[in-house]
C-alpha cells in the first residue's frame, strides 16, 4: 500500500527533507501561477530557490560531502544579484505603467 511505503521511506532521514523541499517548491510554483503582482512572483521564485538549497544542504550533510554546501553558497550569491536586477527592472516597469501587474505587460504579445 502506498501509505505504508510513505512511512517506510520516512524512516530514512534524508527523505523527510526531500518531501519538505518538494512541498516548498510546489508552493512557489503555485504562487507564480496564481499571483499577478510581479513582486510576489519574484518572492515565490526565491521560495523555489530556497527549496532547492534545502535539498542540497540535506544531502550534503548526510553524505558528509562539502560540495553541496559550496553550491548552496554560490546559489545564494547569484540569488542576491538576481533580486537586485529584478527589482530594478520592476522599478522601471512601474515608472512606465504605474503598476506592477504582469497582465499589463503584453506589449509584445508573447
Amino acid at each position: 500500500m502506498i501509505a505504508l511505503e510513505v512511512v517506510d521511506i520516512l524512516s530514512n532521514p534524508v527523505n523527510k527533507y526531500v518531501y519538505l523541499s518538494i512541498i516548498l517548491f510546489c508552493i512557489g510554483v503555485m504562487g507564480v501561477l496564481m499571483r499577478r503582482n510581479a513582486i510576489i512572483i519574484l518572492m515565490c521564485v526565491e521560495l523555489m530557490l530556497n527549496a532547492a538549497n534545502l535539498l542540497l544542504v540535506a544531502f550534503s550533510a548526510y553524505q558528509g560531502n562539502v560540495e553541496g554546501q559550496m553550491v548552496v553558497f554560490f546559489v545564494i550569491v547569484v540569488a542576491a544579484a538576481e533580486v537586485a536586477v529584478g527589482l530594478a527592472l520592476l522599478i522601471s516597469i512601474y515608472r512606465n505603467l504605474s503598476s506592477t501587474d504582469v497582465n499589463l505587460l503584453n506589449k509584445m504579445k508573447g
Binding site: V18, I22, G64, I91
Partner: protein
C-alpha cells in the same frame, strides 16, 4: 528531540510559505517570507551547517528582504492594489501545484536508487563549519569565488543603468 524540532520547523516553513502566496497585502507577504527564511535557517542549523545558516540569515533576511520592503514602500504598493482575480485561475493553480507534488512524490516512491545510504549522521562530522568550508572555498572553488565578484560588479552596474531615470 531533533525529530520534533524538524517537524516544528517544517510546519512553520510550510505555513508561512502558504501565507506568502495567499496573503493580499504585499508587506504581509514579505514578512511571512522572512519567517519562512528563518525557519529554513533553523533547518540548516539542525543539519549542522552553521556557516550556511548564518549566511542565509544575513543575506536573505538581512539584505534581500530589506530590498523587497524598500521597493514595496517606494512604489507605494502597501495596499490591496491587486485587482480581483477570477476564482477559476486560483483553483487551477492550486490544482496544478498539487498535481506537481503528486508527480514528484510518485516519482520518488517509484525510484529505488534514491534510497541513499544515510550512514553518517550530520552531527558526526563538521563539514558545515567555517574551517572546512573556507578551506574548500579558497582551494577548490577559488575560480568561481572570483568570478562571482565580477558577477556582482556587473549586476551593480546593470542595476544602476536600469533604474536610472531617462536612460
Amino acid at each position: 528531540m531533533r525529530e520534533y524540532i524538524f517537524y516544528f520547523l517544517a510546519f512553520v516553513s510550510i505555513i508561512s510559505a502558504l501565507m506568502v502566496v495567499f496573503s493580499k497585502n504585499p508587506i504581509h507577504s514579505v514578512l511571512y517570507l522572512v519567517i519562512c527564511f528563518f525557519s529554513i535557517a533553523g533547518h540548516y542549523l539542525i543539519l549542522n551547517a552553521e556557516f550556511l545558516a548564518v549566511v542565509h540569515v544575513i543575506i536573505y533576511a538581512g539584505a534581500i528582504m530589506v530590498l523587497f520592503l524598500f521597493v514595496i514602500m517606494l512604489l507605494n504598493l502597501n495596499k490591496e492594489s491587486e485587482p480581483h482575480k477570477p476564482a477559476i485561475i486560483k483553483f487551477a493553480s492550486v490544482i496544478s501545484g498539487s498535481l506537481l507534488v503528486l508527480v514528484l512524490v510518485a516519482a520518488l516512491l517509484k525510484s529505488e536508487n534514491l534510497n541513499l545510504p544515510a550512514s553518517t549522521h550530520p552531527s558526526m562530522h563538521s563539514i558545515g563549519m567555517v574551517k572546512d568550508l573556507g578551506k574548500s572555498l579558497f582551494t577548490d572553488y577559488l575560480l568561481p569565488f572570483e568570478i562571482s565578484s565580477v558577477l556582482f560588479l556587473s549586476a551593480m552596474v546593470g542595476v544602476v543603468l536600469i533604474s536610472k531615470k531617462e536612460a
